[in-house]
Every structure is written in C-alpha cells, then in structure tokens.
Symmetry: C2
C-alpha cells in the first residue's frame, strides 16, 4: 500500500517504536480514571488531556462529524476554531458523549473546558473538548472535576492519553515518525480511537495528531482537510456516523524555523507525514472494528471522478453483505458489484471488473473463469484486498473496513446495559 | 397502524384468507422446481409464471431497483414497459440473479422470455422477466426450458408462484382483499419475496400485485409509483439495495366496467387497496428479514418535507447500531438521534423528541425522566415501535425494518457455499 500523499524524493520517514502524541516536542499529556464508565470490572482511564508544554500556544485545526445531531463538544470546538487557531490544549472523556443532553449538557461542556483551562493555563476560549460514549446521559461533573484536577501531565503521557480515549476499542492506537528536511528534524505523532460507528465522514472517532513543526494556521487547516479525506474519512465499521467525531491536529512549533506554508520546502513532507500517521491510525481503527477479525482494503479504480471513487470504495467497504461474505470466506463477489452499483458512483457494468486478492472474478463485464476455492482462500487472511474497476474513467481511491461477525452483534446488543 | 392511503368513507376492505395473485379473476399462475438451487436437501420451487387467463392482455406497470448495476431482467422489463403497457404475463426464477453475466446473460434473459411466451401465448416483447439470487453465475438454460415447458398454470396457482420466488425467505408471503364500489366488486391480490438485501428504493425484492379491476395504463403507472413509495420503498433489512428488485402490478379487467382513471369513482379505493396489500407484504418482508425476531416500525414526524420524513425513518430503520440495540433490548435511544442526524434530513436537535413504544425518552431536546427498565421492556415484543420528531415541520412517514441478530451473520457468511 503506497500513500496517495507523496513527498518529494529523498525524504525518509522513520517510524518511532511506541511513539504517540507526546513524541513531538512541546507537548505534555496524560490520562486518568474518573469513574465515568467501567468495562466489566476494569476501571479504565476515561479522561485525558493534551496540552502545550510551555507558554507558547498550539496551532490547531479540526475536522468534525457531518451528522446533523452533534455533541456539545463538537459545537464548542467548531465555535472556538472559527474564532482562533491558537489553543492551550484539548480535554477528552470517554464513556459519555454529552449529546442530546439539552441545556445542562451545554453548560457541562463549557465547564469541562474551564476546568481543564484552569489546569493547563487556559480557559473555555482556548481549550478544545471531546466527549465520546453513550448519548443522552448527563456527565458526572463532580467526578470530571476531580479527575481534571488530579491528572498528571508529562512528556511521557501520550500513552495514558491514548488509553483514556478508548471506548469499545480492544487496544490503544498510537504512532509517531520523524523526518528531516534541509537539516531540520520534525516529528509527527498521533493517537486515535474508533471501534463501532466508524463511517465515512468521521464516526465515533477521535483522531489527535501532534507535530513539533511550526505551521502557518491557514496552511494547516487546508493540509489537514486533505489528510483527513484520504485517511479518517475512508474507514468504515458499520455505516453509523456518530455525533461526536473529531480529527484534531496540534502544532507546537518546538522544532524551530519558519512557519510552514505552501511555499516552505518542508510543506509536502509534512503533509505526507501527517497523512502516513493518520492512515496508519485509520487502518488500525478499521481493523479493530467491533468483533472484526480482519482488515478489508477496498480500492475503486476506473472512476469518473475522485468523489465517485471514494463513495464506491466506501460503499463496498460498508456493505453488510460483503462484510459477512468475508467472515464466511464466501466468494460471492457479486456483492461487490451490487454495492458499487448502489453507491451513486457512475458504473459501466459492461466494462467493470472485480478482483478478490489477486484473482480477477469479473473481467470487463464478463464473469471470469476462476477457481472459487482460491478466491475463498484469498478472503482468509488478516488483510483482505478487493478491487473494483468501475470501467468509466481514471480516478481511484482506497477505503478500509472490517468484516461483520457474530461478535459485533453481541457487543452492540448490550452496549449501555 | 392506519394506512397513509385513505379511501373515501364507506368502503370496506375484506381480507381473503389464503388469497394471493390468482384471487382476482383473469389470472393463472404456477410454480415448478427447475433445479436451479436447493436449500439444504429440500428441492424448492424456483421457477414461476403469472399469466393472463384468456386472450385479453394484462395492463402492467413496474418500478425497479435504483442500483446502477442491474440484472438483465430489469433491463429487459424497463425496455418492454417503455414501449407497451400490455403484457401476457411474467416469468421468474429464484436462485440466480442473471446479473454480471455479460452478453451470454442478456441472451439467456431474452430466451427465458421467449420460452415463457411460447407457453402463455406471447413473446419476448410482451413477457416480463424476473431473476433473483446469486450474482455472476450463468442460468442453467436447459433446466429452465424444461421447467417452463412443464409448469402447470391454473386459477389456484398463486400459492405455488409465491413459493417459487422465495430465496432465503422462511415462508411465502401472499395476501388478497376485495372491495365494492357502486355495486361492482374488485379484487386485489399479491405476493412478495424479500429477506436479505432489503433496502429503500427496492432491494432483493419481488412484489407482484394483481387486480381484476380494469385500468387506464397511465393512471395505473402513477398510482403504482405512489403505492410503492409508502410500502416497498419504506422497508429495510440491511441497507444493501439489490440489482434485481422489482415491483410489478398487473390488471386483468375481468371485473368489468369502465377503465379506472383519476376521475373514476373507484380510483381512490383501488389505490388504497393496492397500498394495503403492498404495505402488508412490505411489513411481512421486513419481519422475515434474515435472522430477524421482530418487526421494527419507525415513524419520523415533525419533518420539514415528506422526503426528509422518509429518509429519516428509513435511516433509523436501517441503522445497525439501532437494530442490534433492539436485539439486546438495550434502551440506548441515543442511537435513534444519531441515525436521524446522519440521514440528511433537517433536524433541530434542541427541539427533537424520541419515543420508544409509549415512552418519551427525549422531550424537545431534553432527556426525559424515564424508567429504563420499562423502555427495555417496550423493545421486547414482536413489534417494536419507535418515533422520532425532528422538531422542524409537519411532515411524517413510517418505515419498517427488523432487528440484527447473530443469525443474520450466519446466513450471509455462507450464502453461495
């Protein structure tokens, strides 16, 4: 899998073992157990903060859920980032989405930002908020206040933060890399949570990316949107777009040098680095979909437009029938055509082709002679690759999802009880 | 549940026990086992025909899948109905969708119509075709030819036809009723198949409705569209719109009298009757969704437009998270708001309300004090009713679906093997 974000030749990206949001300089973070939600008998970290290490504010950009129903934190963050790109940090909780909680919920959200601001040298006007979990329940503000007051923030706190944002995730997801341009070394780190309700255009998903690169705020906003479009917006677990999704990037500038904008020699490499970390996180989210046993990578090629390629790839990725076929290793490739056909993308069914792994099963509209046993075997690994060529144009896009299993039903039949 | 199609006062609709497509006069039908597909060791009827009983042709109208990838029969029928509204009948098979089968598949479809035409006094230009089942496999034409030649057609054959169109359905679905306007009695009968891949805008679904009323072809076309919009287009099993769906209405005129058009005294009653039979079939399809244990009825009210009401009701109905919550009787009503929010319908989240059964759980944007145990109990019956008021306008619509169970995964993990 090559990245659709390409840096100019010669730039090497070095992945850093165990890296995360505090790998780049200029950030502290932490996570704490407030008692919002237990998983079984396990007290899991459920409140986390990322903050600027020193006095210099962070430059931030954000992309949020397109759901018409949004959590109060999404409303808060959108308003904040509409008025400034400089923030002190972000405070998050898991276990409660603070959504459909009425006027009390709005007040609680503002209070959460104030409490975190008091802890990290800011206020409700420069602290971002995230809440994920059950909809329609009030946040336990006493527990939150105590947690925010007691949270330990450090240069090693990225791991604890990555644990604190988890809901039904089976493990934390964090990555970091470094790269050097013209003698200056930059770092990009990130963590994410996902699992259920992961759908194109953001889902119950947090993605937090940090960098020590200095950035021009307007450039960052644009670069971040392009990165999210090929990473977090291309994953799907169950079509259900959540009310609380957010992808946030924070830049400390601690690496020094001039702010990076479109004309800066490091601009392309930084975009690629943000994309590499975000795509790796996105794939980790898809692979960790509730009950999933494999990652499904769907490429739609031959599309009339990039939008068509994206919607076709995402629709195939999200098809319950395709997802259950993978679970059963059932070489029922017609479901790929069915899903591409209902995606809204232009399809020339007399010129379309489909591959399962390396096996071409439909060749320019004609069923190919194929060993169904071999096709079934290609659906058996940790990574199942599917390609559909729509037979219309030249655009292509890749989406990631997971299979649908009995375990998904079990997890979601009993989420709040 | 009252019908959104209302007849003028005084008209009574009498349901006829065991009625189906041959209850109205002027039709013969039948079903036969061709050997296209067995279910376990059971040889199940897999080819069916409905035909005009005498020389008078049937007046037909049809609505088809919106999937960009379509089976050859859909292409055939669309072309046929674009040139004429008079047909001899319809021939169907289950077990094979004749989709993504290339040029050979197109020839096989035409041949199927010719073979049926030879049996019922027509030709490829006036015989409709339907094929449902696995995509990407060639029809066994020898078996089909023998079956069509040997099929028995009779005035009692509606039941056999209703069995022949089944795929993973657990039982046949057929209904009929009679009503009288100004001393003349009319009948409407119908049968349908569904189960998996039932999604708004038609899914792997056949709906065949017959009537002995004489009709004006242009009026029938319009009336049928309005009926499908509140019945077959408002059900959902798994979001996957199939390539082969069709809703066909056939009118024999055997009841006598003037052709019914908008100005005819029986026009409104006939529309209502078509709607009642179609909605009853649609609900039976949803209830019989793969692995389902209950029918879910979702009403979206307070919508800005009827389109918004429909898309909101259908999106809530199709949400995997809502469907699994019902399976677990988990009173996680936030998922209703989440799904309404992502539907594309306008929602005023500060004015929206949600009911599970009789229990208001969200009241004009504020979570209601509610006994979660009682809400859970309201999710436990054969019929689970959910209402979401979008808080914007006056339009409303109802959709039907089913819960998502382990059994759905089992059925679809192993469909072709």
């Amino acid at each position: 899998m090559t990245s659709p974000l390409t840096a100019d030749g010669g730039i090497t990206f070095d992945w850093i073992d165990g890296g995360g949001v505090t790998t780049p300089a200029g950030f502290v973070a932490g996570g704490i157990y407030a008692g919002i939600k237990t998983y079984g008998s396990e007290p899991r970290l459920d409140v986390g903060i990322i903050a600027a290490e020193g006095e210099t504010p962070l430059v931030a950009a954000g992309v949020f859920t397109k759901n018409a129903v949004t959590g109060h934190p999404v409303t808060h963050d959108r308003k904040l980032l509409a008025s400034t790109s400089e923030v002190r940090g972000v405070v998050c909780n898991s276990g409660n989405a603070n959504t459909a909680t009425g006027t009390q919920g709005a007040e609680d959200c503002a209070r959460m930002a104030e409490l975190a601001g008091a802890r990290i040298g800011g206020d409700a006007g420069n602290v971002l908020v995230g809440s994920t979990g059950v909809i329609g329940r009030m946040l336990p503000m006493d527990k939150l206040a105590a947690a925010i007051e007691g949270i330990e923030l450090s240069r090693e706190g990225g791991y604890a933060f990555s644990r604190a944002i988890m809901t039904t995730d089976t493990h934390e997801k964090q990555y970091a890399l470094r790269f050097t341009v013209e003698g200056r070394t930059y770092h990009v780190g990130g963590c994410a949570k996902g699992s259920g309700m992961i759908h194109p255009d953001m889902a119950t998903m947090y993605g937090f990316i940090t960098t020590d690169a200095p950035v021009d705020p307007a450039w960052l906003k644009q670069a971040w949107k392009s990165v999210v479009d090929v990473s977090f917006n291309m994953i799907d677990v169950d079509m259900d777009t959540s009310t609380s999704d957010m992808g946030i990037v924070l830049a400390s500038g601690a690496a020094g040098g001039d702010p990076i904008d479109a004309g800066h020699p490091a601009a392309e490499a930084l975009t690629t680095a943000l994309g590499e970390v975000s795509m790796r996180l996105a794939k980790a989210i898809a692979r960790d979909g509730e009950g999933a046993t494999c990652l499904i990578e769907v490429t739609a090629s031959g599309a009339a437009t990039i939008e068509d390629a994206r919607i076709a790839a995402r629709t195939v990725t999200s098809s319950p029938l395709m997802k259950t076929a993978v679970t059963g290793r059932d070489p029922n490739w017609g479901r790929v055509m069915m899903a591409a056909g209902r995606s809204g993308a232009k399809v020339d069914q007399d010129n379309a082709s489909v591959w399962i792994g390396p096996h071409c099963v439909l060749d320019h509209g004609q069923p190919a002679e194929v060993d169904l046993k071999a096709v079934s075997d290609a659906m058996g690994g940790e990574l199942v690759t599917i390609r559909v060529d729509l037979g219309v144009g030249d655009a292509s896009a890749t989406a990631w999802g997971c299979n649908l299993t009995h375990e998904y039903v079990s997890i979601n039949a009993d989420y709040t009880t």
